[in-house]
Structures are given as C-alpha cells and as structure tokens.
Chain length 397, copies 2
C-alpha cells in the first residue's frame, strides 16, 4: 500500500471547498500525517488538492523545508506577524496572517476538522474566508489504512511491547509472597514491596532501551483493575488479577502498539479463572469475525455475545452498567493509540491494511478485572495477529 | 500562595458570559488545571463562578466524582448520547448534549479559549448558546502564578533533571576520543560510538528512575546544535559543542522542569569558548533583571543587549536572522513546559510565584550552538535560581 489522499480530494470536492486546513502542532496526529512535519507549536497546513502548503514560525522554517511533505513552506515574518501582534494582539494577528496566506494560495473557502480552533475560525470568517467543519474527520479515515512502511513501524513497536510485557511478567514471577499476601522482591539486598509503580518503571525502562516512549502504562491489581482507566498504584497482591496494559510509541516513527495481559501470582480465585477463560473465548470469537467487509460493530457484537450468553452484562445489554464488559472491543492503532476504526456499536467496515486491537474484558470492584488484548492487521483474507506468540496465561508461579 | 480563580471571575464578568467552558482532554493543561481531572479523552468543563461542572463519559464518571475539582459531575448517557449519536452522528450529537447540559446549568452564553473546537462552538451557537472567544487565555494567566504545592512539584522535577544532566555529563566524560574525532564508549566489552541517541537514553532512564517522564530531549552536537529545535542524532564529536536540553515532567504531579547545559569534550574552538563566555554574561544580565514588576520584555532586552554589544545579531536587531540569538530569552514552566509568562518582546510584568526559564544562546551552522538555561522562581524581592548548584562549565575532560 502507498499513501493516498484520494478520500481527502473527494471530501474537498463534495464540500466545494478550496482547501483542507489544519492548525495544530504535531501532537495532533492529523497534522503530523498531512504535513509530515514534526513541530511542537501549532502551525497551519493547507491542502488544496494540487498543493500542500505550510506556514510556520521562523524558528521552524529551515526544518520544515527539509522535513515536511509541503510543496510550499512560508513563514510568519513574511506576513509581518511580529508587528501585527504588537498592534492587534497575538490571536488576532495570527488569524489575520493565516487569512493573508490562504488568500495568496487562492483559498476562499476552507474545510477544517471539528477540533480546529474556534478563535482562528472566527478570525478567518471575519476576513471573508468561509470555514466549514468536516464532521467526519476525513484525515483520520485516510490514516486508518496503513502503508507497508507504517505497518513496519507498528511491528517494531509491537516487538518492543512484547519485550516490556516479558519484563513485567518476569518481575512478578521473581517476586515472593509475604505473610500478608503482598508481593515482595529483593533489591540491593533488601526486601521491598513489588508495587504497580515498580513494575511500570521496569516496563518503561525496557521500552526506552527498545527505542520506544510512552505516556502511561496500566499495571492495576485487584479493585484498581476493575476500572479500565485506572493506572494502578501500590503493592501487588498474590491471588489477585493484575492487568498489564502497555501502549508504547516508537520514537523515530511515532507509531504505536498496544497489548494487554492479565496475571495472577501463585493462582487465582475460581471467579477470576472463569472470567479469564470466558475472556479468551470472547477474544477468539471477536478475532474470528475480523475480515475485510465485516464491520467493527459485528466484531464488537461477537464479543458481547460470548459475555451475555454467560450471563454477564455488557454496555449493549445495559448502557449504564458499571460491571461486566464495560468498554468497546477495540480500536485502530497508528499515530494515535486510539484511532479509527472502532470496534463498537457504530464501527464501520474493516479494510485491508488497518491495524486494530481486540481487547475484551470483565470488571467488578468485588472481583477485580480481566482483560486480554491482541493487536492485529486486517489482511485481504482475514487478519494477522502480531501478538499471537505472546502466551495467554493467567497464573504466574 | 493558594489557588485563586479571581482573574477568571473578573474575565467572566467583563465578557458578561455565564460560564467559561473548556472541551479537551487533560493533555490540555488549562483543562487539567480548571477541572482537576486527568482523563485522556475530551470532556466538557463549565465554570460559572459559583459552580464547577464536568460532563464525562460513563467510563470516567466514577473517577471524575472522586478525583476532579468539580462540584457537579454528569455523564453523557444522562443526555441520551448513544442514541443521539446513532441518529445524528457523533459530532452533532455531542454538541447537542453539551448544549442541553449547559442549559441545565442555566448557561446561555459561554466564554471559551481560542483553541476550543470550532465544531462544538458552531453546534452550541446553532443551539442558541452564545460563544465568545477569550483571546487572552485567562486560564493560562491564572496558571502562571504557582501555589506552594505547585512550586514543590517543580522543585522535585528539577532535582530529577539535575540527576539526568549529571548522567549525561558523566557519560560524555567517560567517553574516549577515536582517531576520527568521534566519541566512543565501552559497553558490554565492546567499543561503540557515543551517539546523541545513547546519551538521551541515559537521560530518560535516569528520569524514569526519579519518577519523571518526558517526550523529547535535546542532545545536539555541532551543526545540529545550531538549530534550537533540532533534537540531535548520530555520533558526538570531540571539540564540538553539545547542547543538552532536558525538560522532564514529574509523573505524579504533571509539573515540568527545564534546564540546558552545553558541553565540549576535551576542549572547544576559540569561537565556541568565546560564545560560551558571552552567553554566561547574557544569562547573568537577564537574571539580574528578574524581579516582580520588571517585564518579560525587559529581561529579554537585557540578554539582547549583551549579544548585540558584542556584535551578534538577535531577532530584535534583525527579525529574519538565522544566526546569532534566534529565540526568546525564556518562558514560564508548569503543567506545560512552555507557558506564560514569556521573556520576549511582548513579555508582561513578572509576579512572585511565577516559574521561568532564562536561556540565552548563540547559533550558527558554521560554528554550532551554545545555550545555558537555568530555571528560577520569581520571589518578592528578586528570584530563586533552582539550578544554581549545577556548574556552568563548557569543557568536559
């Protein structure tokens, strides 16, 4: 697969707009993807179908010419930004400079993403440029289908992720169980509690050594694990489920991976063991549903079916439930760790070249949490499971 | 100092608006500060002066009630978000739900930051809620003055930062110089090049071990160092200036620190040595200008004076220059690594409790780059330099 902006061209034509405009730093993945320019502070990208143009600060000008995808690179000083900021204030001056830049490109109407800054949009409108909102985020749709190069980046991030997961599992395996049931390890000749924080540190150091960074990791034990967004804290306990969910970003490429395993040191309660088996079943059922032409909604339904048949609530059977299967079945992964396509009730048709996670789970503060997450590439005839080789085993001795 | 939203109350009164609204995830520092809620996906915060209310997804509801500053926590399902999203599409449904939530709070007019999403703003306007843009980012102004607790977090991040800087310096000190002038180190019994990437890894691992994370680090040598935004790559060379700029975030508090030193292994060229001395002078001059009531513009001017008197171009003497002193003198540091107040031509009056960097530098691709950056707290009678104890020394033997 090679990168194509055909869908963006079509959207521009349908909206009868002269350009698609993004104003953001490269922390906005649509900006990074469209401009190809990695810069921390917001800058303007305008894509007319024939031309990709960026407007950046003087500090970024040289690098933008070397590194961005842009055909045209302009800088703020060409439009007297500094003087205008002194006179009109920063925000008004910036919108004015953007309007002049777009006028130079012959742009009279702009299609912008939903999260385009309203301050800039209002300024452009005042300057006579029509601004219409693209309510369906066409650039994120374009990003969903990966090129071979992008898939290679996800594969590398996945290799690093498996190394980090193994480091976490090894640390739990090496721990002893204290009299009060908490896990302890020997470090620098002293026995210290094995905490969520300590396991996360090991994960993060391993990822760094493999060229990856990450903002957050989840190592959540017991009641913490019952909240899918709880990052976890404090000592880990034997016999309780420990959810380890790691979602690193390869530094060089900025592409992510994402995987989850659930461990129980020394054994698990019957309930947790049963949940784990059921979740493995839900994972298999959801994976079996993955193929081009199937919808994300169908994959999600396959996981819900397994849980509901076993008597567990899901968001499908009870939208307000706080226990059971209380999130979607998965999501796309790329420049963002959560992106299209979604495996949820509104999930659209899957296409070859998409990267998705499949991650069913069960949660209840009285029991804990269980989640198993693989990451797969949608292929012409099904899927390729990138994390298939990492064992799915609950009990760590 | 304790947290006060007086400036926000005043701004609301001046704009005659019923509420200040932010729609963003906690990666937006204004959102994190105002709501006190750390959640990755966008949510709505509305501050009416009397009440702070947040509207979140069901997945975040329990945690928002426990962890946020909000007096009122509501969830999307109360406003039938899922059904509406099925019928109207996600973006339209969300704006409709927000409009109903604001109506329940009695809000008919909203003041929003410049970067509030235009898609939501347009939706609120269609629903009859007036949306006005706060062009001066009042929440960032409020954030500029730190409480004692916030200052403690910056101090801890600074301690971690000094440890990381020492790790980088030690690695450069321990290196040998190969026949071609590149630095080499012995690792696992083998001689390998000492690269920017290797030094960054050491910095990042040290920061992780100290409870800090970071997105990026700069270890830039030679011509790389001449571009203040170049992160640096490849083998380091003896005799060339190496800029090491580290800006970690303490994970628990999310507050940053920021410092820079420039090293030259084994000695430096006369030009680099002269630049270093001049930059130390510019640093001292700028620091001397820091006190409550002085403006950021005055501090910046003090650094420009030193460089211009020595014959170097600055952005003040030549707005288009690509060599010399080509950035501002510093910036506020807090939840964002770059925030108010700015030490630049438009910099406003400094106030006690603000945290700022002071970071003059000189750049030229023919020579390399030199930058020295300390981080200081503005006090009642001047400033406290948090990085004063870390030596300012160019040559590493």
């Amino acid at each position: 697969m090679t990168r194509t902006l055909d869908a963006l061209d079509d959207r521009l034509a349908a909206a009868d707009a002269d350009a698609y405009c993004i104003e953001a730093g490269s922390d906005d993945s649509n900006q990074l993807y469209l401009s190809g320019f990695d810069a921390p502070d917001p800058f303007l990208t305008a894509y007319t179908g024939e031309e990709l143009a960026v407007l950046v600060s003087g500090l970024e000008y040289g690098r933008a010419r070397k590194e961005s995808h842009a055909d045209t690179v302009a800088r703020l000083s060409t439009y007297d930004y500094a003087d205008r900021a002194d006179e009109e204030g920063r925000a008004t001056a910036l919108a004015g400079v953007y309007a002049d830049f777009l006028a130079d490109l012959g742009v009279e109407s702009a299609l912008v993403p939903e999260r385009f800054p309203v301050g800039i949009a209002d300024g452009l409108r005042e300057a006579g440029i029509a601004v219409e909102v693209d309510r369906d985020d066409v650039v994120e749709s374009v990003r969903a289908t990966k090129t071979d190069e992008e898939l290679e980046a996800v594969r590398r991030a996945t290799d690093a992720n498996e190394a980090a997961m193994a480091a976490a599992e090894d640390l739990i395996a090496a721990a002893d169980v204290a009299d009060d049931g908490t896990l302890v390890i020997e470090e620098d000749g002293e026995e210290t509690p094995l905490t969520s924080e300590r396991v996360k540190e090991e994960i993060e150091v391993t990822l760094l050594r493999h060229g990856c960074a990450l903002d957050e990791t989840i190592v959540a034990c017991g009641a913490d694990a019952a909240d899918p967004h709880d990052r976890g804290s404090g000592p880990l306990e034997a016999g309780e489920s420990v959810i380890v969910d790691i979602f690193p970003r390869e530094k060089a490429s900025k592409y992510h991976s994402d995987m989850t395993r659930t461990f129980a040191k020394g054994g698990a309660s019957d309930t947790v063991a049963e949940w784990f088996e059921l979740t493995e079943e839900a994972l298999s059922a959801a994976l079996e549903a993955v193929e081009p032409g199937a919808t994300g909604a169908e994959v999600h339904a396959a996981a819900c079916d397994v849980y509901e048949e076993a008597g567990h609530p899901t968001l499908r059977s009870d939208p307000d439930t706080e226990t059971g299967f209380i999130h979607s079945t998965g999501h796309g992964v790329g420049l963002d760790v959560h992106e299209r396509p979604g495996l949820n009730p509104r999930g659209e048709e899957l296409e070859p070249g998409q990267v998705i996670t499949v991650e069913p789970g069960l949660y209840d503060p009285e029991v804990g949490g269980v989640r198993i997450e693989d990451i797969v590439i949608v292929t012409e005839d099904g899927y390729e499971n990138l994390t298939a080789d990492y064992p799915v085993e609950l009990v760590v001795e």
